[in-house]
């Protein structure tokens, strides 16, 4: 059973025929070849698939693409500035060694971007709680927490 799904991804309108059961993350990775969004689990634990849908962080493994019909989707590929310079949150991750293997990183950044909108000056505890849905096996979260604390403040400062 095939359907047509249309949405905007990183500012560009996209459209494709797909099976109804196609997950949003599969559409993003396989159809659009935007492979920065990752799949790390099958029970919606790991958060490596996190994207923004209409400005909110969601797990793209947990909805089918047609649930995003007409939505505005932002993936990690759309976060840096047009000239390639890093967004303050991305820069904070780099300065604070907030990534090692990089696999969980897109999900961490996407989650942090949404979180920072509501918590411009977060405490360590608030950051840790915001990472309930994001797993990392490499960093022990220490530098991810530092990165998000710095990144949120940097974002607030540029407002």
């Amino acid at each position: 059973m095939s359907i047509k799904v249309s949405m905007k991804v990183n500012g560009k309108p996209v459209s494709a025929e797909m099976e109804e059961r196609t997950l949003l993350v599969t559409f993003i990775r396989e159809n659009l070849r935007l492979t920065g969004t990752h799949v790390g689990c099958d029970t919606a634990q790991c958060g490596a698939c996190t994207v923004h849908m209409n400005g909110k962080a969601i797990k793209s493994c947990s909805i089918v693409a047609m649930q995003a019909e007409g939505a505005d989707i932002l993936t990690i590929e759309g976060v840096a500035h047009a000239d390639g310079t890093l967004h303050p949150m991305q820069a904070a991750f780099k300065e604070n060694h907030g990534l090692q293997c990089g696999f969980c990183t897109p999900g961490m950044v996407m989650n942090a971007l949404d979180f920072a909108k509501h918590y411009p000056s977060p405490t360590e505890q608030e950051v840790r709680e915001s990472l309930e849905g994001n797993l990392c096996r490499c960093t022990g979260y220490h530098n991810i927490v530092k990165s998000i604390m710095a990144g949120a403040r940097a974002m607030a400062a540029t407002k």
């Binding site: 993936t75 060694h97 990089g102 897109p106 096996r137 490499c138 022990g140 220490h142 927490v145």
Partner: protein, 779 residues
């Protein structure tokens, strides 16, 4: 170029692509004409494979081919080899049962591959896989390692399910010492089975080219050359030169991506059968039943002390669960990488350890971050801390009375420690952790209804594996050297090809720091290339914290050759004798004069050899080196853990973790700290939250991330990390390696803290609320 790059907190070169979604992991790769594979896996722990009916599945939409063990056997595909031959106590070789990539005759663990479906899309392959009918005749399952000997035999070659019984040490000296000991501390424990769970699942994508009869395999691996060697020489019977293995960006390994896995073999073989690329990507649930697991030891350990608290002897008996088949390095983990560390940081004169390795109907077990050393450290540091409590001596004082202080030190369990200073890290951690203030913190915790405990772990480990002749004498079937190639380009930039592999460790940055420092270049002028057998000369890969010590040294040796040749070229350009040329970080100088040439000028001359000693010297500037280490390296350190335990529920939290490690010289402290953070987090996971659980039928009950709890950010505190340096004596960088230390030392520190908090002798790992509550109420 003013300050040295060695010891500098240089931000990582690799970060940009990871932060912007431009990393290329194996599943991100797709070839034209791509097909997809789905594996049918056994739902039984142990069963006779009576028949496999594939007709319905073959007719399903998009299906191209279906293969079973019979197809591979007919094609004479070999079984997966084991890379380490352990000799048992009777001088006999270990039992090596066949390990077919697709099951033949029997299935021996839930998750074993029974058939593969290849289709146009992943969804179609999975749909078709569900249409395959397998007739299993279930057999009794053997799950408990301690009872394996009396269970139904998994393999004909091992009727008592015993792969080997192995021992090390002087048993009679140990027994004598115990007979006259003033005090004996004895503990029985289980080192709990773990699932590595790197966030990137395993993935493999193979294609075959008719144009030159060659294969390309993209695979999430920690060691592409080893993968190639094992697969071509032992399984598929192909020349290495016809197979290219690429391990691109890899999302974490921790050991689980070292091994040659059946899926890698099957997709490679199938790509030739079909003439189309075949890709397989693991689900997380598949990972739980197919990635090599870690740990799973059952141990009885005893420490004998004299009346002054001096350690007289240690006696250890371990049953190690190998799982259903011998994984690539499985045999050496509970032997060579375990028992040889039982001296710890102490002068214990007599040690004896006996290990029985058994097969069970569980997923094969192999190296997982620490690989044998966490198990050894757990034995030693739980014994030491428990002994201190029993004889009512401060655990720090007891350790100090027994520290090794003179080096080199030959342990009674084969290893010779080259250098170390255990007092330095211990003294530093006591200050950094503010141990003196613990009493106050404990009272404050009590007022909040929490029992606060403090535990130590002073670990040592052997890494930088290994001197090949020593490893060979111990049963290794491979060399354990490393290779590095330095290619200087005509315009003076440098590409370094390393046999090491980075899957989070930041080698593109740290290795570049070493090279840029030596050659007087900027970081942006040095490129580190790894992970492709077509580009990199050779490599044994990254595991065992060996990359900087062995891989880094290979690069340094190649750099030495570059500089040596550069001196010859400079001598010619400067019209001086070679012996008068001095070299320092990018500048060749005639000694005692101002006459000099830069590295860039020398590089250019090598490729445009117009003013050049062509009669004596080849043009070009490209050197390689293979480095076989003289010894293991011996990182060591001291950890302090503080926990709070809820009095009502037993729920525990690590509220502080302080680590002072000696990794020898440190190239990039930022990256080293990150490695310790990650290792400690995994060690805390083992101690508090993770347990791979099988029921008596051999069903994996912790088969998803819902049931298997890897630590979350809210489970962990910020860590306090520091280092002390006693440079390694036998490599030019003076480095020891740091990747596994945290996972090695942390579990003992945490459990020493938990038992301290609740005043109970022992609590099993993981110290879940249930286990802690039960321990509190049993006492």
């Amino acid at each position: 170029m003013t300050s040295s790059l060695i010891g500098a907190r240089v931000p990582r070169k690799e970060d940009y692509r990871f932060l912007t979604g431009a990393g290329q992991y194996t599943d991100d790769v797709a070839f034209a004409g791509q097909t997809h594979a789905a594996f049918v896996r056994s739902p039984h722990a142990h069963a006779v494979l009576r028949s496999i009916k594939t007709e319905k599945a073959k007719k399903a939409p998009g299906v191209i081919a279906i293969y079973t063990g019979a197809d591979l056997a007919a094609a004479k595909v070999g079984g997966l080899p084991c890379g380490w031959l352990i000799t048992d106590v009777k001088g006999q070789p270990m039992k090596e049962p066949p390990y077919p990539p697709l099951a033949q005759g029997k299935v021996r663990h839930v998750g074993e591959r029974v058939a593969v479906v290849i289709a146009e899309s992943q969804a179609q392959a999975r749909d078709a896989a569900e249409l395959i009918e397998v007739d299993y005749q279930p057999l009794p399952a053997v799950v408990n390692a301690a009872k394996a000997k009396s269970g139904t035999a998994l393999h004909e070659i091992a009727p008592d399910n015993t792969c080997y019984v192995w021992s090390i040490g002087d048993r009679s000296a140990v027994d004598t010492a115990f007979a006259s000991a003033a005090h004996v501390t004895k503990l029985d424990f289980v080192n709990n089975r773990l699932v590595p769970n790197a966030i990137e699942p395993r993935s493999a994508n193979a294609s075959y080219s008719r144009a030159d009869d060659s294969y390309t395999l993209y695979v999430a691996s920690q060691n592409p050359h080893v993968e190639r060697l094992l697969m071509t020489a032992f399984v598929l019977g192909l020349p290495e030169s016809k197979v290219r293995v690429v391990a691109p960006d890899v999302g974490g390994g921790f050991g689980s991506k070292i091994y040659l896995y059946p899926e890698d073999v099957v997709v490679t073989w199938a790509s030739r059968q079909l003439g189309r690329p075949v890709k397989w990507n693991s689900d997380r649930s598949e990972a739980f039943v197919s990635d090599a697991h870690g740990r799973d030891h059952v141990t009885t350990a005893e420490l004998a002390l004299d009346k002054d608290g001096k350690f007289l002897a240690m006696r250890v008996r371990t049953t190690a669960n190998l799982g259903a088949y011998l994984s690539t390095f499985a045999s050496c983990i509970p032997t060579i990488l375990y028992a040889t560390l039982l001296a710890g940081q102490y002068k214990t004169p007599a040690i004896y350890c006996e290990v029985t390795a058994v097969f069970t109907n569980t997923v094969p077990v192999d190296a997982y971050r620490g690989a044998g050393r966490p198990e050894a450290t757990y034995v030693v540091e739980r014994l030491v801390e428990t002994a201190a409590r029993e004889i009512k001596l401060d655990p720090i004082e007891l350790r100090r009375r027994n520290f090794i202080t003179e080096f080199p030190y030959q342990t009674p369990v084969a290893l010779c420690y080259d250098t170390g200073n255990y007092e330095a890290t211990l003294g530093a951690v006591l200050k950094l952790a503010d141990v003196a203030g613990f009493k106050d913190r404990r009272e404050q915790s009590l007022r909040r209804g929490k029992l606060r405990g403090l535990g130590y772990a002073c670990y040592i480990e052997a890494c930088g594996i290994a001197p090949s002749n020593v490893a060979g004498s111990l049963g290794a079937r491979a060399g354990l050297f490393e290779a590095g190639e330095v290619r200087v380009h005509p315009t003076g930039t440098v590409t370094v090809f390393t046999g090491s592999h980075a899957h989070g460790q930041g080698h593109e940055t740290t290795f570049a720091q070493v090279v840029a420092d030596r050659l007087g270049l900027g970081m942006e002028q040095v490129e580190i290339v790894h992970g492709d057998t077509s580009k990199v000369l050779f490599g044994m890969g990254t595991y065992g914290s060996r990359s900087i010590a062995v891989g880094g040294t290979a690069i340094v040796k190649a750099l030495d050759k570059i500089v040596a040749k550069g001196k010859k070229i400079a001598a010619h350009l400067l019209e001086a004798s070679e012996g008068d040329i001095e070299y320092d970080r990018g500048v060749f100088k005639v000694a005692g004069t101002d006459k000099k040439k830069t590295f860039g000028e020398v590089a250019f001359a090598a490729y445009v050899p117009h003013n050049y000693p062509l009669d004596k010297l080849e043009p070009g500037l490209n050197e390689n080196a293979f480095y076989d280490p003289a010894n293991f390296t011996f990182p060591a350190g001291s950890y302090v853990c503080e926990v709070e335990v809820d009095r009502e529920t037993g729920a525990s939290q690590v509220v502080a973790f302080t680590a002072v490690d000696d990794f020898g010289k440190i190239i990039n402290p930022m990256i080293v700290e990150g490695q310790v953070h990650g290792g400690v987090a995994q060690g805390i996971g083992q101690a508090l939250t993770e347990n791979c659980a099988y029921d008596e039928a051999g069903q994996l009950t912790s088969g998803t991330l819902l049931d298997y709890c890897i630590p979350r950010a809210s489970d962990l505190p910020l860590f306090k990390i520091d280092t002390r340096e006693t440079p390694c004596t036998h490599n030019p960088l003076g480095v020891k390696g740091c990747g596994e230390a945290g996972a090695i030392g942390a579990p003992a520190a945490v459990m020493n803290a938990i038992t301290d908090a609740i005043g109970v002798r022992d609590v099993p790992m993981p110290a879940t609320a249930q286990n802690v509550w039960r321990a509190m109420h049993r006492a």
